[in-house]
């Protein structure tokens, strides 16, 4: 166990990671990790908007995990309060690219049936220009989310607008019902 932790620690150093989290993502985790990264980058970076971009991407990614991860951690409690006591498991990573830019990446299990829809929506957003993203964002904001969405359906567009490079994502099958979704956004 200690060996594994050391290897992971060394890998984090090597890959220039600042934050690596794997576990249940509660609203408290979103607030604390988001706040921590925002403070850290605000203190270090010359560009004021960078801390805001990293924070915004991190919040969208963690709230996506909270809403869509199919790996749910059930905490002790009465069955009548189950929606308050269920937390979604996922992984988030913040690090630096070789050129110094910050990236935010996340990964979580999703239902395989949702994989295609997510990939389609991300591919659509990936190909858009800044101006197209702005129009798409405003149009979707008025239109409202599709029935499968648990939020406003704007998260991917929001992240694309905050990104300074192309967004990268993948959907890998884990078993017949489950896939692993991951994405990386450079802030």
């Amino acid at each position: 166990m200690q060996r594994t932790l050391l290897r992971e620690y060394e890998a984090m150093q090597r890959e220039n990671l600042i934050l690596s989290f794997d576990g249940p993502v509660s609203q408290g985790v979103v607030e604390e990790l988001g706040g921590l990264m925002r403070e850290k980058i605000r203190a270090e970076a010359a560009e004021g908007r960078l801390a805001h971009r990293v924070f915004a991407i991190l919040v969208e990614q963690m709230q996506n995990i909270a809403r869509y991860s199919v790996e749910r951690v059930r905490l002790e409690g009465g069955p009548d309060r189950k929606d308050c006591l269920e937390m979604a498991r996922g992984r988030v990573v913040v690090g630096r690219e070789p050129d110094g830019r910050y990236f935010v990446a996340c990964g979580n299990c999703i239902a395989s049936v949702d994989g295609e829809r997510i990939a389609r929506r991300l591919s659509e957003v990936q190909s858009m220009s800044r101006e197209e993203l702005k129009d798409h964002y405003k149009r979707m904001r008025r239109l409202g989310p599709d029935p499968d969405s648990k939020g406003a359906g704007l998260g991917f567009i929001e992240m694309a607008r905050k990104a300074t490079g192309p967004m990268d994502f993948s959907v890998e099958p884990v078993d017949p019902r489950t896939s692993f979704f991951s994405m990386k956004v450079i802030a």
Binding site: G34, H52, A56, V59, K134, K138, A152, L154
Partner: protein
């Protein structure tokens, strides 16, 4: 009608609506766990306020440091609601307040301004 107040948290803003003066204030950060659950009661309150004969004027002061994409949708719904009432002849003004260093908040305000028609939407820069 009673005043509507909600205390702010790390991820949800302070809300203070005074029906006497028609002054509303939303201030803080907005990325609650469940946006519709957090803002639902505020919309109910507003519907009731506008249903009353004295609900003729509104001044909404908003100062939001950061809001997530779900909140963006909710704010658009809020401005659409106010815009409809402004279109019916009510006197409605929104002051979108942002700190001079917060360019993102400024741009978000500009994008909301582009999407409203009837209400007075002012961008207000706050300096130190």
């Amino acid at each position: 009608m009673t005043r509507y107040t909600v205390a702010g948290t790390k991820s949800s803003p302070e809300i203070d609506f005074d029906p006497q003066s028609g002054t509303l204030r939303i201030q803080g950060e907005s990325y609650p766990e469940n946006c519709s659950r957090f803002y639902g009661p505020m919309f109910d309150w507003l519907q009731e306020y506008f249903g009353r004969s004295n609900g003729q004027r509104v001044r909404l002061d908003m100062e939001i440091v950061y809001f997530n994409s779900s909140t963006s949708k909710t704010f658009m719904d809020l401005f659409d609601l106010l815009d409809d009432h402004a279109g019916q002849g009510k006197e409605i003004e929104v002051n979108w307040r942002y700190h001079e260093d917060n360019e993102t908040a400024q741009e978000c305000g500009e994008e909301f301004l582009e999407d409203v028609r009837n209400l007075r939407f002012n961008l207000v820069e706050i300096r130190d």
